[in-house]
């Protein structure tokens, strides 16, 4: 995480410098915007990794040169065991896009089905009878 925020903050500084140089040598609007906001992209990730690192009271095993492999064992977070919902989600999203070519009626139907897919996907683990995760 430490390497991560240093890397991304460094990238942000690099992009900021390149943006200024590009502007000074008379670059056009697309390049200035793209380079400047690439700096924004790197700065956003860099800041968040730095902030997250600061919030953790301990040194992460990956930043500790004397750490053992076993130090990073333990719970990583919650991962879905399996789900069928991404399939209808992808299908209805595709239909919503195809509808722009075929006709608006298909997009309208697909957006309704898409909302159902999204709800099914995100509400899967909060069933009234709670599973044991």
């Amino acid at each position: 995480m430490k390497t991560g925020w240093i890397l991304f903050t460094g990238l942000a500084v690099f992009y900021a410098l390149v943006t200024v140089i590009y502007w000074l040598v008379g670059g056009e609007a697309v390049g200035i915007t793209a380079l400047g906001l690439s700096g924004g992209l790197a700065a956003l990730i860099g800041f968040y990794l730095w902030f997250t690192n600061k919030q953790l009271s301990n040194v992460l095993p990956e930043d500790n040169i004397k750490a053992e492999i076993s130090d990073s064992a333990g719970e990583l977070g919650f991962y879905s065991p399996h789900s069928w919902w991404p399939l209808p989600l992808a299908f209805t999203m595709t239909m919503a896009g195809v509808g722009l070519l075929v006709g608006w009626w298909l997009t309208l139907i697909a957006v309704g089905a898409l909302l159902i897919s999204i709800l099914g996907f995100v509400l899967e683990y909060e069933k009234p009878v709670r599973s044991s995760h």
Partner: protein, 219 residues
């Protein structure tokens, strides 16, 4: 902000021996930020389009069309959106206390839970979208449309994509409230959902401030 995953049962066992095992970055939150940085590049393309079109078309078309914009109205609408970020953050503070709903009456604002703050944020966001639709309707009646001229195209594409993002955020708020309603207890999982939705909302808010400055103030 809660940016670590901790497991209450695991922490009891390992708290003394090795706190590293229960104290890690929250992968959902970090992943959301990485995704938002890619969203930033999406808006970078829209900004680049806006500035290039302005440079290519020359200032006349802009002078002619920006006169139609109702800046006081848009400024008021912007204020509502910016304030909705504040109410959203109060909702996050409640979520970090694991407080799903209010502990007092509706008028005791200091006792509000996540649900009340997010509902207020939703209403303010919906007000913003409604205001934007009203603004579009007014502009169309003044014959500035998506296909009327280059300014119309870039104006509706940039603000329209932003409006779609706000609408997506409104749906996300509804889903958060629904998830919390359906969950038996309010825990880390629910708090994380609330926090990442707030990240998105703040992002959309900041993008609007940039868009508002570019379109309404700098022109």
């Amino acid at each position: 902000m809660t940016s670590h995953v901790s497991n209450p049962s695991a922490s009891r066992q390992t708290e003394q021996s090795n706190p590293a095992k229960v104290n890690r970055p929250n992968i959902v939150a970090v992943g959301t930020i990485v995704w938002l940085s890619s969203e930033l590049m999406f808006f970078a393309a829209l900004f680049a389009m806006y500035f290039t079109t302005r440079a290519v078309q020359g200032p006349e078309i802009w002078l002619e069309s920006t006169g139609l914009l109702n800046i006081p109205f848009a400024a008021a609408n912007t204020t509502v959106l910016v304030l909705s970020s504040v109410t959203c953050q109060f909702g996050v503070f409640a979520a970090e206390r694991f407080q799903a709903k209010r502990s007092g009456t509706l008028f005791q604002i200091q006792k509000w839970g996540m649900r009340e703050w997010f509902a207020l944020t939703f209403l303010m966001g919906a007000f913003f979208v409604g205001g934007q639709i009203y603004e579009y309707a007014t502009l169309v009646s003044e014959s500035l449309t998506l296909s009327s001229n280059a300014y119309g195209s870039v104006f509706y594409i940039t603000t329209g994509f932003h409006g779609m993002h706000v609408t997506g955020g409104l749906i996300a708020f509804l889903i958060v409230m629904l998830r919390v309603f359906r969950a038996k207890k309010f825990g880390h999982s629910q708090a994380t959902t609330a926090i990442v939705v707030s990240y998105y909302w703040h992002f959309v808010d900041i993008v609007w401030i940039a868009l508002f400055s570019a379109i309404y103030l700098i022109k």
